[in-house]
Symmetry: C5
Subunit: 315 residues, 5 copies
């Protein structure tokens, strides 16, 4: 069936539908515009359920697998990370998989599919069954998680160092952007992990026994990714705590500065105020050296204060 199917389809191939592999036992079609008529044609030809087709036309859905009689429908969650501003976006690759064909659907060009095409060019013999293609797609997608997490981890390290050395309000927005990004990431990874958990546990109709260990390997990667996501969330929450305690420290420092200043200045002002009073019979006032005595007293008071603060390790 796949043979003839492929021939029929090639004749009506549009820009968006391409045949990537077409050999006995495996037809891989890739469709990069889920809204195109080509999907309707394929759906009619293979008898896809209306719900699956509808799902493949929606975006930002979480990973899942639905088993139908002759085929299965999967949603795979890819992620796209931009560093400035730190943002994680969900990408979606959908797949219809039957006994001898796999149809991948995505909106716009997919980096994962592109990379696989390159690999096939050099090493096509690893792709003989649909589950091998499926594994390769998921593997490429999941392999992208860890570099993204490393990026995020490095950013968190930088942020934490900055928080201890020069805490700044702009770090706050970075922290919250990272937090938001991790929440997005977690949604993608956790549903992807659940999907892989199903693929390795169930009697999945389209996964052959010898491929199960490979899917399990990808599953281990998603477990590790989740583990890192949780660690990073903990560290980010800790980062916010550092910020708050640093702010509390800074308030203390500023208020301490103000207090030291006031403690030195107010007594001096009192002394000058004292000698500014208009009493006629004022000691020292007519003494020619009176002004120097007082000036000396002012200097002594200041130095005594400074020594006192030094002693208390306030300055």
């Amino acid at each position: 069936m796949s043979e003839s199917a492929s021939q029929t389809l090639t004749s009506e191939t549009t820009d968006s539908l391409r045949t990537i592999i077409d050999r006995p036992g495996l037809l891989w079609l890739d469709l990069k515009d889920p809204m195109s008529r080509a999907l309707d044609d394929l759906s009619a030809q293979y008898g896809f359920h209306e719900l699956a087709v509808e799902d493949s036309r929606h975006y930002e859905q979480l990973a899942k697998v639905d088993y139908y009689e002759n085929y299965s429908f999967l949603i795979i969650n890819a992620t796209h990370y931009t560093e400035k501003p730190c943002e994680v976006r969900l990408r979606e690759i959908d797949a219809f998989i039957g006994s001898d064909y796999i149809i991948t659907v995505h909106d716009g060009p997919s980096l994962a599919v592109a990379e696989l095409e390159k690999r096939i060019g050099t090493n096509a013999k690893h792709f003989e069954r649909p589950d091998q293609v499926l594994h390769a797609v998921i593997d490429v997608v999941v392999d992208r998680y860890l570099p993204t997490l490393d990026h995020i981890g490095d950013t968190i390290d930088t942020v934490q160092d900055d928080l201890l050395l020069n805490p700044d309000v702009t770090l706050l927005s970075t922290i919250f952007a990272l937090k938001r990004g991790l929440l997005q990431f977690r949604r993608a990874v956790s549903s992807q992990r659940e999907l892989l958990n199903l693929l390795i546990r169930d009697d999945t109709p389209f996964v052959h026994e010898d491929m199960r260990i490979y899917f399990r390997d990808v599953y281990d990667h998603t477990v590790r990714a989740m583990d890192l996501v949780e660690t990073y969330r903990d560290l980010l929450t800790g980062g916010l705590d550092i910020y708050l305690t640093q702010m509390a420290n800074r308030t203390n420092d500023i208020v301490k500065g103000l207090t030291i200043l006031a403690t030195i200045m107010l007594p001096l002002t009192l002394v000058t105020g004292y000698y500014g009073m208009n009493f006629e019979n004022f000691p020292l006032i007519k003494n020619p050296n009176g002004i120097w005595y007082v000036t000396g007293a002012l200097v002594v008071i200041t130095l005594a204060m400074l020594a006192f603060f030094k002693l208390r390790k306030w300055i």
Copy 2:
């Protein structure tokens, strides 16, 4: 039975009880006043359990399904969202479902039922069994969740931007209103999800095999809604953290301003106080340019202070 039942009931139809569909195999009655006598009559005719009837007359209950011998009773949770003030209210649609009939009960007009009536007008052929009606009702109710969540999500985005740019105490009440709304929403969605989970797992007597995949699709929507609710709760908690840190920042800024002012003013005051002392033998005091020397010193001190603060990046 449904045939004759429908005829009997039409004769005694009140304002609140309407027959929406009446065809072989499916009778759909809709009752918009659960307190009316019509419910007692229906209950007597179909032999509904007193507990089910009582439940359908209470409001604000969580979604559930009770299986009785010849029929089942369901509570479905709709939500009603008003934006200003942000508030989520639970609405309830109850359903008695038998082999060839479904009776929906709700207090006052229901938007979901109204929308379904419109659809039936254009496309009645999809409604041939009670479980199809039930699915349609739940589907319409659950489809309402996501726009509501999008609204809430947009509000949260606006609030978070405002928190970083101009934090204001009125944002606090918005945050707490959103929090309260999400708590309400979560109660509705989580019990609804449990309900759907039962409908797709159990050997539910009234759900036919071919409808199960449709109920599963609705279930996936509730899972996604819950997922968003949790993400939004996290973001709101983060929002409160932003507010608190911004308050800490602002306190620091204000106290810093006060400290800078005091640091500039107090030395100047000290100088004027010094020359305000009444000593007779005072240097400069009789010098005709003395006042200009001192005034110059005051200006120099001020500028030096400002330069110092500039250097320390305080201003």
Copy 3:
């Protein structure tokens, strides 16, 4: 056995032991003093296990059910709520239930039992088996939960409004009293829910098939009560957050006020200090209008400051 048992017991009835129902198939004895000798007599007559008797004589235990060979022993958690000061106390009703008898034990008069006696007076026909009495007791106890929760919910609403409008330290003690009350309440409700969960799931020896749906209905009420308890705890925690942010706001407002005052006053003081210096050759000092020029300058400075603060929206 219950017939003769009842006759034996009636003869030795004390104040604390009363026969509420005594008909074929159902003997309901109520004992309002677990320390009385009557319990020992009953225990000897029916062969109750020493552990069960001991349990019925302790207070503040959590709800549970213990199955013995010919009877079962239950602890039911009632709650008693007092509004000022907000406090939740655990009350306990214990029950020994056999095939044709039920013995309820409680310390002091029980509102639940009293209410049931009233109902029996008007409608005794609903009580024909021990499990119906048990259901009635639990139902009355659980029905009390929701009004209590409504009270608590209303208090929380009032508290939250007060927190936003006029935060006050006395609100703190109210919040913590509510928190403590909810913790107590949660202990009672959650163990009661577990008890009911056992009664509807297990092959409970003393619950007849037709009563199971009634116990399930009570179970649903406890689930809803727990759900509300959790929602209220969340809101209370939020209330504490409001209080803290309001305190931060108030600190800011006070410090801002101080800063504004200092900013206006210090320059004015500087000017008066300047003209208070004793230089002989002082500009303006001998000008007859000098004082008015300076006074004018002071007024202008003040107004300029106020305008500046107005512009910055500080006042």
Copy 4:
């Protein structure tokens, strides 16, 4: 076997090994020094596994049960509470239990074993099988939990009252000591609960059917203890929140006091500064009553300020 075993052992009894019960069907040996050679002898005689012997010689292990072929090995967690400073220490009682013997091992004298010996003196007939001894030991140990928790609960109540009336930094260390104590306690109780859960669920080889209900009773006590531990932890966290909000309150009060003082003093200082200027043509300055007008003005300003603050309820 136990007969001869007991005879052999009595002959070589050291200070640390004592025979508490020795009757047909039950030999209870108690060893208060796990490092002594007696344990090696017993181990050789009964064929204990090296791991079990090693475990009985380590301290601060969590409760557990290990099943071996002819015997089982249990670690039971007792707790020791000292009030000042509030501290909870783990004590450990280990037990080897076979079909007709039980050997308890502990480091130093055990209050639990001492109390049991007293009971046996008065009522030896309850101890006929090893599982009855085991139950008695665990029962005594677990009965100690609740008084400890009551002590902790009372301390928490006192602390919370103090926090609202006179918050003090020493309360902080009490709170953290209690927190640490509860963490220790929780470790002991939760593993003890798991142990009891195993004893009542599994087909435990050494627990007879009629004792299961007694173990279940102890299990209920550990559940209640855990429940209280969690409640207390919640209250302690709340206590820290009270402290922080009280600190925020106090800061506000102090700053408010400073602001009030400054608001009253600064205008007065301005007025005196104004009349301290040296202009020759000064209004009022030569008026004999000028000083009284100004003094009056100072008094009026002060009273007006105070009235204003009174009105605003600041003082």
Copy 5:
């Protein structure tokens, strides 16, 4: 097979591959450079799966076990702790285990393997099967956890005492370093615990019945380690709370000092300002003792203030 295998391999032994035990029924090979060609040779000889070989060449993976047909592949997590700066690093020991051989792979010298070699030198008879070697390796690795945790626990104690006595910003970085370290540690220990849980539960092909109790003993140690990790995390979070409350205390103290100073100084300044006014008809001003009256008043005011603060326990 192992016999001949060992002979073949010895001939091509490189620096990194060593034969530790080679007796009938057990060949233990240790490879300290997973990148070396020796691993490829071994893999070819024993038929290891490409995924297992690849895993053994990656670092920082979490503990796991993969079962293949004739052998199993394990990753074991060792930890390496450095005190200054407090840091926990994951080390990894991988193992291929078959019916009569075990191959351990690690990057660089392994302390665990080195220690085992020493033990074998003195007591080789305990190592007769691969599962005994595996147990020994895991046992040594897990035994390292507790000393590390004790170190961390001691550091936490010191930090908490410091926090109460002299809170300092450098303690913050220590707390966060400990937190980060514990997060790393927890990842290692929790996956190790899961691994051991699998080894004692499953029908693990390579673990003999009599070794299961030994693996269970190691499992108990990981449970205890996890338990301590959680306790320490709780204490660290508490440590941050102490820091924040101490900062709040300190702010209060500083602001209180400022307020006391201002409260004493401002009235004094007012008095001197009052007598600095230039009114001609000034009471006391011409009185020869006027200055002493006023000076006395200043002293009295100061003493009264100090007494007042003393009374209020502010100083």
